[in-house]
């Protein structure tokens, strides 16, 4: 025992070897528990334990390809709505405390209230995905590995052009998992004055390309 003490740093000697081991174990338990809680709140079953999610967005999502498809590979709520990387994930989880507050306040506790807020909620999510270059889409859908010969005519034509224009998934793929809010599509009276969607900015680069082509 005396010989081991020679190698111990001063702070270990001060608090004792046993305490050091106990702290180490407590650290593992704490971190494990933290991670467990984080993962527990990152499950579809947790998301739809709130009726706000279950009655509205979850039921809409059940009709879409990310819920049911040929091969049964799914993208569940957190796959799209919670970042995978640790930093952004923490940020999003802290932001979610606001959602807990509004759950308690009952801000969207009926489908009518939810639909009244739908435009705002959708735009929040579009903004978030635009800002991170649709990272959650790209966790599975990688541009570089897209085989255009396997895509439909329309997709094979649009995708390369969109990437040249610097567009990101969410620019065009809005409302693919949930219903859209009222959108002003400039087709007469229908939804006049409602939210407009952009399909990405018309890039200045496109003009240059045209000029070069001439």
């Amino acid at each position: 025992m005396m010989s081991l003490e020679k190698y111990m740093p001063a702070w270990v000697k001060r608090i004792g070897l046993l305490t050091v081991f106990a702290l180490f174990a407590a650290g593992i338990v704490f971190w494990g528990g933290f991670n467990w809680a984080l993962e527990a709140t990152n499950k579809e079953s947790f998301c739809i334990s709130c009726h706000e999610m279950e009655e509205n967005v979850f039921r809409e999502y059940q009709n879409t390809i990310h819920y049911t498809n040929r091969t049964g590979v799914r993208a569940t709520c957190p796959d799209c709505h919670v970042p995978k990387e640790w930093g952004p994930k923490m940020v999003r989880k802290i932001q979610a405390s606001n959602e807990v507050l509004h759950k308690i306040l009952g801000t969207i506790d009926t489908p009518e209230k939810f639909n009244a807020k739908r435009a705002q909620l959708a735009q929040n999510e579009w903004k978030r995905m635009k800002a991170n270059d649709s990272q959650e889409c790209r966790n599975c859908h990688r541009y570089d590995y897209m085989d255009y010969t396997e895509q439909g005519n329309r997709a094979a034509k649009q995708h390369p052009q969109a990437f040249i224009d610097g567009k990101t998934c969410i620019d065009c793929h809005k409302g693919i998992a949930h219903q859209l809010p009222a959108i002003d599509q400039h087709i007469g009276k229908q939804n006049e004055g409602a939210v407009e969607i952009s399909h990405g900015e018309k890039p200045a680069a496109k003009e240059e390309n045209k000029a070069e082509a001439k």
Binding site: N63, T64, I65, G152, N153, R154, K157, Q158, G175, I176, Q179, L180, P181, A182, I183, Q185, H186, I187, G188, K189, Q190, N191, A194, H199
Partner: protein, 147 residues
């Protein structure tokens, strides 16, 4: 001969009517001899893959939809078809523009934008499925193509 669901349906209704009128024989439903509360065994139909524009079969035929429309909803909030086919979007997307006839109200008065009565695109424009016609169809257009 291309399969036109609406025509086939019209023919089916017509034929079933004849059958009932001409004889006492039992009229069989196209869904087979299955009780209404039971599920009929149907073939699985897949929407056809994207293809080039399908030529019309007769004058003023609403053009057929030459692509899959799976998951394309037309709701009060959003018309998925118009996301590409509207006048504003057609150039960028390369889709066929909505025809001028869709800008008329029922009195043939010209409107500045698409008439609300044209909102439900798939009432007239139908997607194509790899399905055999239920009944024979001998329809021939009255006029030659080229309107």
């Amino acid at each position: 001969m291309r399969f036109i669901p609406a025509l086939a349906l019209a023919a089916a209704v017509l034929f079933s009517g004849f059958g009932a009128a001409s004889a006492q024989e039992k009229v069989l439903s196209e869904r087979g001899d299955v009780a209404i509360d039971q599920t009929s065994k149907v073939d699985m139909f897949r929407p056809e893959k994207d293809k080039e524009i399908i030529p019309r079969n007769f004058q003023k035929q609403p053009p057929l939809i030459p692509h899959s429309v799976k998951g394309y909803n037309i709701t009060q909030n959003f018309n998925k078809c118009m996301d590409c086919h509207s006048k504003e979007r057609a150039e960028e997307t390369g889709a066929t523009k909505v025809a001028k006839s869709h800008y008329l109200d029922r009195e043939d008065k010209k409107l500045s934008n698409i008439s609300p009565r044209r909102y439900f695109c798939m009432q007239c424009h139908v997607p194509q499925f790899d399905a055999k016609p239920l009944v024979e169809n001998t329809y021939k257009p009255a006029a030659k193509k080229g309107e």
